[in-house]
């Protein structure tokens, strides 16, 4: 009950602190007016101890006791300033998060910049309820933190409110700030693990002469070597040949018969009826990945959209993105 109340209050405060800025354009400068300071649990204990010490000094009329308490009190105030300075003035930009599959953990790269001549120590960044990333920012330099967030559904996963805090230098005071940079990570549908076509052999490639399943040639069908080009997938390099010929020899790429010829179409409409949307997307994602692994070319047809045949990482991304955003974009 109390925890709930605290949680609610915290959310309220965070919302108020961010006000209308969410999401805000980068770079986000954590100006002094958006850095908040409160004692930590340890800081409260420290203050309480000082109070007891003060009572002791009064009771026994210990002049040096007053001196001690006042020195430590001053130290507490100075700790506030140091902690505040450690955070205030940091600016924040973002990097591009690598797309992930549903069920994986998205990692949002945040880049902290420090314009000051003083190192910023132990800045802690975290997303609500997530693990804490700690980083130092060198003087007049920058540092990158990867904020993890589990991807639970496909589509765009927006970066939630980021909390940046520090308890440096004494752990008695916590300075913190919120930032909500506009940043989203693309989440691909999770590829189906058991590909249905393996069992029922429904014709995903039915419109092809050589369905992937019935293919005897396929990518397994070695057709010779040619000179390596930078754009060739690494797993098609003839490593054994390279090892035999030594480091001075040019790399060779294995060629497979039918690779280019086997132009596949993965078609939404040809999946069995009765499958729901997510299952269809999962199956299509699996095919896309498998086809790329096999070095095939393929095209993707979704309702209202078709991606022409191609292969390579960019094509994989385009296809998976289309699957990820299926039904979300209009």
């Amino acid at each position: 009950m109390l925890a709930t109340l605290r949680g609610t209050l915290k959310e309220r405060f965070a919302a108020w602190a961010l006000r209308t800025r969410s999401p805000e354009p980068v770079p986000i400068v954590l100006t002094q007016r958006r850095v908040y300071v409160l004692p930590t649990r340890g800081g409260l204990l420290y203050a309480l101890s000082l109070l007891v010490l003060l009572v002791g000094a009064i009771n026994y009329s210990l002049s040096l006791g007053y001196g001690l308490v006042f020195l430590l009190g001053g130290l507490g105030i100075v700790a506030i300033l140091h902690s505040f300075r450690n955070l205030a003035g940091t600016s924040l930009t973002v990097g591009a998060p690598a797309p992930v599959f549903v069920g994986d953990t998205a990692r949002f790269p945040l880049i902290l910049h420090n314009a000051d001549a003083r190192e910023r120590r132990l800045l802690r960044l975290f997303l609500p309820g997530q693990a804490v990333e700690t980083t130092d920012v060198p003087p007049q330099g920058s540092a990158r933190a990867l904020l993890p967030l589990p991807a639970t559904r496909r589509g765009w996963l927006a970066l939630p409110r980021v909390t940046i805090e520090t308890v440096w230098p004494l752990g008695l005071v916590r300075s913190w700030s919120y930032a909500a940079p506009a940043l989203a990570c693309l989440v691909y549908p999770r590829p189906a693990s058991a590909v249905p076509m393996l069992e029922n052999a429904t014709p995903p490639f039915a419109n092809q002469q050589n369905s992937r399943l019935s293919s005897d040639s396929g990518d397994e069908d070695f057709a010779g070597l040619r000179r390596h080009q930078t754009s060739d997938p690494p797993h098609h390099v003839a490593w054994k040949t390279a090892a035999r010929l030594g480091p001075d020899a040019a790399l060779q790429t294995k060629q497979f018969s039918g690779t280019a010829a086997q132009a596949l179409w993965f078609d939404w409409a040809q999946l069995p009826h009765g499958l729901d949307v997510e299952t269809r997307l999962a199956i299509l994602a699996r095919w896309v990945l498998d086809a790329e692994d096999a070095g095939l070319s393929w095209g993707l047809r979704l309702p209202g959209r078709a991606i022409p045949q191609a292969h390579g990482p960019a094509h994989v991304h385009a296809c998976l993105k289309a699957l990820a955003l299926y039904g979300e974009e209009t």
Binding site: S49, L64, L71, H82, W168, G171
Partner: protein, 652 residues
């Protein structure tokens, strides 16, 4: 709803363990001489144990063992002090906890507990001693504790960096400490009853006197009080600092009589006689009496006067107290009441038969009281009495044995024997204890009166003159009064260290040290509510009270905070010289209502400006080209000067 992440438990790193150990040792070591040996040994053992475990990277001892040791330590304290609540027992317990917390500290939470314990132990030191070295130790301990605290927050911190950080922060905290020290409204303690064993370490005159009481003090260099004369200084032989007056002889022991409260001054200064104004800074001695030159005319605050001319505070003096006094060595007495005189004639029966016979013999020839007093002084002088710090032990008849057998004694023997003799001769007499003389510190012109200056003398009532001081010791050992203890006792008697001769350079150094100490005592340790009011008034605060102090406190602290924050947070924008010129130009154009857009580079902006201001187009283009060249290209060395010139000449 995502749940809050678990509060992580950070196990202590080896470096943190060493820092905490250093903090513990720094806080405990100064207390070691005050606690029982076994406790110091237990604490040292615990520290060594922890150090060994850290060195060998062994796990901490099991919890049950620690609980057992804690219980044993607590029981030991209970046995030693018979309580757990007293001041000394409390300090001992803190020490036990600190030692065992070291062995139990696993996470950084425990680390904070160690640091806080260290603060409490530092405060505990002050109960015994608040001298300058102890204050220096305090800064040392706090420095180590702060560095340890910083290490808890930053496990990777290097020792040197941690020290520098802690040092910087403490230095920045000092202004706050000074302001708070000066302006925090002081409250006179205690807030509640203190444990019974508080102040047990204080020395001073007792309210009874038996052979050996004052002798005990004579070996002590501890300062009883300091005096600063305002104007004339009486000769040293006249410096009798009056303390407890003892009228009742009870076997071998002298006790105070039934003195009553004196509402008015029971004597008056003799007209035109010299008076001495001075200020006494009295060290706490846990007894109510205040010392003053004979005989005081004024009365300190919160004090009263008794009918035997003593000054009493309302409460035992438990902290350093400062009072201004005025005294007159020559006074006229009002008549003394019969009851007091009768008490001053009373002698217990059966004791000191020889002394009594001697005194009684003098009453037969009808001589006056004054003559009988003189006769007694002469008798003492002719008796070849030796003044010594090591008087032989005496039996029941103290005066008899001293006067006729051993003939060796300390001032208490002289005073007691003389009073017995006078009473036997039917002259009202009583013993006065206090201090005699003192030592002037030439550095700050303060007189220091030590426990070794404790003295006992006598007072006789002479009709017409009133109470007259007679110092029988002076009869036998005039040097004691004229010079000092060292001159009076036979060579070979052990003397308090500072009274020894032949250490002039050392004495000189000591005088300086005492002067510093005196200033410290007056201004730091003696900074009580009265002193605070006095100082603030002198600094110009009009009738200071806690409201004004708090307001000033808040205001000044706020100012310091602002100044510190400004110094720490101010960031000078860094521009290179070319950029500075370029910004000058854009500022000028901005005033014309043509600000540069955030996304515009110098060339784009220049092109736009040239279009907006065709008259200045050439200038603008030239400046932009120069600037772009300086910033991004390879330019001749005088390009900057040209840019500067052109920008200065540019008037859009």
């Amino acid at each position: 709803m995502a749940k809050k992440p678990e509060r992580p438990v950070h196990p202590l790193t080896p470096a943190q363990t060493w820092w905490l150990l250093a903090t513990g040792v720094a806080a405990c070591a100064p207390l070691a001489p005050q606690v029982p040996v076994w406790l110091a040994a237990v604490a040292a053992g615990a520290f060594l144990w922890r150090a060994a475990l850290a060195w060998l990277r062994q796990p901490l001892p099991p919890r049950w063992l620690l609980i057992l040791v804690t219980l044993a330590g607590t029981a030991g304290v209970l046995v030693e002090y018979r309580t757990l609540l007293g001041q000394q027992a409390g300090v001992a317990l803190l020490l036990v906890f600190m030692a065992l917390k070291q062995l139990e500290a696993r996470a950084s939470r425990d680390g904070l507990a160690v640091v806080l314990l260290a603060y409490f132990l530092t405060l505990a030191q002050f109960l015994e001693d608040q001298s300058i070295p102890v204050a220096a130790t305090m800064f040392g301990t706090v420095l180590v504790a702060t560095a340890a605290l910083a290490n808890l927050a930053d496990a990777q911190g290097q020792p040197l960096r941690l020290f520098r950080l802690a040092g910087t922060m403490l230095l920045q905290a000092v202004p706050f400490m000074l302001i708070l020290f000066l302006l925090f409204p002081r409250v006179q303690g205690p807030l509640w009853g203190l444990p019974r064993d508080a102040y047990s370490g204080l020395t001073g005159l007792s309210d009874t006197m038996s052979p050996g009481t004052i002798n005990n003090l004579s070996q002590s260099d501890v300062i009883a009080f300091r005096v600063q004369f305002d104007g004339a200084v009486p000769p040293k032989r006249e410096m009798y600092w009056r303390g407890p007056v003892l009228t009742v002889l009870d076997g071998r022991t002298w006790r105070p009589g039934n003195a009553t409260l004196a509402r008015d001054l029971p004597y008056a200064p003799v007209a035109n006689s010299p008076g001495y104004a001075y200020t006494v800074t009295l060290e706490p001695h846990n007894k109510p009496w205040l010392f003053a030159l004979e005989l005081p005319e004024t009365l300190p605050n919160d004090a009263f006067r008794t009918s035997d001319f003593q000054l009493h505070a309302r409460k035992p003096v438990r902290e350093r107290q400062r009072y201004a006094m005025r005294s007159y060595p020559q006074v006229e007495h009002e008549a003394e009441d019969d009851f007091t005189l009768a008490a001053a004639r009373r002698l217990p029966g059966g004791l000191n038969p020889r002394t009594r016979a001697l005194g009684a013999g003098w009453t037969a020839d009808g001589s006056s009281a004054a003559q009988r007093v003189q006769r007694a002084i002469d008798f003492l002088r002719n008796q070849n009495l030796v003044y010594t710090l090591q008087p032989p032990l005496t039996g029941q008849h103290v005066a008899d044995e001293f006067l006729f057998d051993t003939r060796r004694g300390f001032c208490e023997h002289f005073a007691a024997a003389f009073v017995v003799l006078m009473r036997a001769a039917d002259v009202p007499a009583r013993v006065v204890t206090g201090y005699q003389g003192g030592e002037r510190n030439p550095v700050d012109d303060t007189w220091v009166i030590r426990q070794s200056d404790a003295h006992a003398w006598a007072e006789v009532w002479l009709e017409g003159s009133g109470w007259v001081r007679v110092d029988p010791t002076a009869a036998a050992a005039p040097a004691r009064i004229e010079e000092n203890l060292a001159a009076a006792v036979p060579a070979g008697d052990p003397l308090p260290f500072l009274s020894r001769q032949g250490l002039d350079w050392l004495r000189e150094a000591r005088f300086r040290w005492w002067a510093i100490n005196n200033a410290w005592n007056q201004w730091v340790l003696g900074f009580n509510p009265e002193r605070q009011l006095e100082l603030l008034t002198r600094l110009g605060m009009d009738s200071p009270d806690w409201r004004k102090m708090t307001a000033w406190l808040a205001g000044l602290s706020g100012l310091v905070l602002l100044a510190l924050a400004a110094a720490m947070l101010w960031r000078r924008p860094h521009h290179d010289p070319a950029q500075r010129q370029w910004l000058r130009l854009t500022r000028r154009l901005e005033k014309r209502g043509l600000p540069r857009h955030a996304w515009e580079g110098p060339q784009d902006y220049a092109a736009r400006m040239a279009a907006e201001l065709p008259a200045a187009a050439d200038d603008i283009r030239a400046i932009a080209a120069l600037y772009a060249g300086l910033r991004y290209g390879n330019t001749p060395p005088d390009a900057l000067a040209m840019l500067r010139q052109r920008v200065a000449a540019f008037r859009p």
